[in-house]
């Protein structure tokens, strides 16, 4: 009896806390924008470098009307999604297999450890050389960025699964596939989600860099060409769009995490 009431109160508290977290996480960027607008209006900051958000909104509207904004955003998002799939899916599989199989781990681990510290932006020229100026080079850049955090976290996630759960699986005669599906994957999922979030963040950084250097479309290109023509408002429009994408992706991934991992207590 008492257990049910305690669980209910706990549940209600958790829902209230979730709602509060959501409100706070929307309030902070809005507050920053308001402060910026006021500072620009009263010339507390140099509007040549920090134009008021309202003038940026005007630039955003005109960029949106010309279709330029939507096209560039769509192109960047497309590269991000394909890159995420190209890097994330193999990373997930390899990471879990590394966690399960000691020999595979011994074989692959040094390769990951040796290549992981190379700054991903530093290999952009090489990627451009190999894949040319087309779509593939941008997609590959994102894929490389996404690959490491997901692979590393998936391995760590499998390795931290308590031995007793594997004993239970063995005791109930779970086969290889069932052990993977019912123990290794769900047990590692909280870690994998952390890897996915890190990977998406890195992917966003790398897509911007790649588009500045070797592209004729995308938000990174838009920002770079704005710099070249000193169209500061347009530059901010590009930055703003990237920030929005990052923000929406983070919210979406947090929701996905709550849905995928309902047993995680502190989400």
């Amino acid at each position: 009896m008492s257990a049910i009431t305690i669980a209910d109160v706990g549940e209600r508290k958790r829902i209230a806390a979730k709602r509060r977290d959501l409100i706070l996480s929307i309030a902070s960027p809005l507050g920053l924008l308001a402060a910026w607008e006021i500072a620009a209006r009263f010339h507390l900051i140099d509007v040549r470098f920090f134009p008021a958000p309202s003038s940026i909104v005007l630039a955003l509207v005109s960029a949106a009307q010309s279709g330029e904004l939507l096209d560039n955003t769509a192109v960047s998002l497309e590269r991000l999604i394909f890159g995420f799939l190209l890097g994330g899916v193999p990373a997930l599989i390899l990471g879990i297999v590394m966690g399960i199989s000691r020999p595979v781990r011994a074989f692959i681990d040094p390769l990951i450890a040796a290549t992981y510290p190379i700054p991903k932006s530093a290999i952009l020229p090489l990627i451009l050389l190999i894949f040319g100026l087309g779509e593939m080079s941008k997609v590959v850049m994102v894929a490389i960025g996404v690959f490491y955090p997901i692979a590393i976290n998936a391995t760590a996630g499998v390795l931290q699964i308590s031995r007793i759960y594997l004993d239970v699986g063995q005791s109930f005669k779970a086969g290889r596939w069932e052990t993977f599906r019912t123990i290794a994957l769900p047990g590692a999922l909280p870690f994998i989600m952390t890897g996915v979030k890190l990977g998406v963040g890195l992917g966003l950084i790398l897509i911007a860099i790649a588009e500045m250097m070797g592209a004729k479309s995308g938000l990174g290109y838009m920002i770079w060409s704005a710099w070249e023509t000193f169209a500061v408002e347009r530059m901010y429009v590009g930055l703003f769009m990237i920030a929005i994408i990052g923000f929406v992706l983070t919210l979406g991934l947090n929701e996905l995490e709550r849905w995928l991992i309902p047993w995680k207590t502190n989400s």
Partner: protein, 271 residues
């Protein structure tokens, strides 16, 4: 193989002894490198017996159970389990401490064994419902383990093992992490559940009280390396009531007798 077995008849449990052996362990040795965990253990456990193993910590009792459960290999000797009825598993294990999957609901945890052996859907539905009911978990079927108390989580673990409908239940100190009240309640529930269909149980504990409360036969193990010190019959009638038992003068006598056997071993284990 069963009918050829010769089982020592010993008065009080003659009826139980007449039943065929479910588990036969012969000259079992288990070494971990230089460490001799179990040395020359031979026991026969009749079908339907609640067999309890007590011993000082580190005496190899958990290792013995893990060998029975197929989680460890023997160094030498044989372990025979009589053939399971077709479609039924040999054994299910209730582990010490938290072993239910945090990522599954109570229902999915209880259904795990049946799903792993691909039982038909309606059978799973029926059996799991029945066991959640018997363990008082029906209302918590869709809760996750982190929403339950320690006592309830251990009940889920028991429901998972029983729902699998094994020939033999292996229980490794299932109540040792619980507080005294919860332990007493769960012991009573286990007795009630067990007395309903009398499966063969091998139960590990370090508590002499628990051993006498639950067991038909109690094997006392020596300190490391683990050997059989003695096997004692518990002539207390069933059904048993955990609290009423403590009134019974025979209960105190049996507990006292086992302590006499165990005392030296506990002291040796401390050296």
């Amino acid at each position: 193989m069963e009918d050829k077995l010769l089982i020592k008849r010993d008065g009080a449990r003659a009826a139980a002894a007449a039943r065929p052996a479910k588990i036969r362990i012969r000259n079992l040795h288990k070494h971990f490198g230089p460490l001799r965990a179990i040395e020359d253990v031979s026991i026969e456990i009749a079908e339907g017996t609640f067999f309890v193993i007590v011993g000082p910590s580190g005496c190899g009792k958990t290792t013995l159970l893990r060998i029975l459960g197929g989680l460890e290999q023997v160094t030498s000797g044989t372990v025979e389990l009589s053939d399971a009825a077709p479609g039924r598993p040999h054994y299910s294990m209730v582990f010490q401490g938290d072993s239910i999957f945090p990522w599954m609901t109570v229902w999915d945890n209880a259904a795990y064994g049946l799903r792993m052996r691909r039982a038909p859907k309606d059978e799973i539905e029926h059996v799991v419902r029945q066991w959640l009911d018997r363990t008082g978990l029906t209302r918590f079927a869709h809760h996750y383990p982190h929403q339950l108390s320690g006592g309830m989580r251990q009940r889920v673990s028991i429901a998972r093992a029983f729902a699998n409908d094994p020939e033999i239940l292996l229980m490794d100190e299932p109540f040792s992490a619980l507080d005294e009240q919860n332990k007493t309640i769960l012991q009573q529930e286990l007795l009630r559940i067990w007395e309903a269909d009398k499966k063969t149980v091998v139960f590990i504990t370090h508590s002499v009280d628990e051993a006498v409360t639950l067991g038909d036969k109690i094997m006392v193990m020596t300190a490391s390396p683990g050997r059989t010190k003695t096997i004692i019959d518990v002539p207390l009638e069933r059904p048993r009531h955990v609290l009423e038992l403590r009134h019974d003068p025979r209960y105190g006598e049996i507990v006292y007798g086992i302590w006499g056997q165990l005392k030296d071993e506990v002291e040796r284990a401390r050296d």
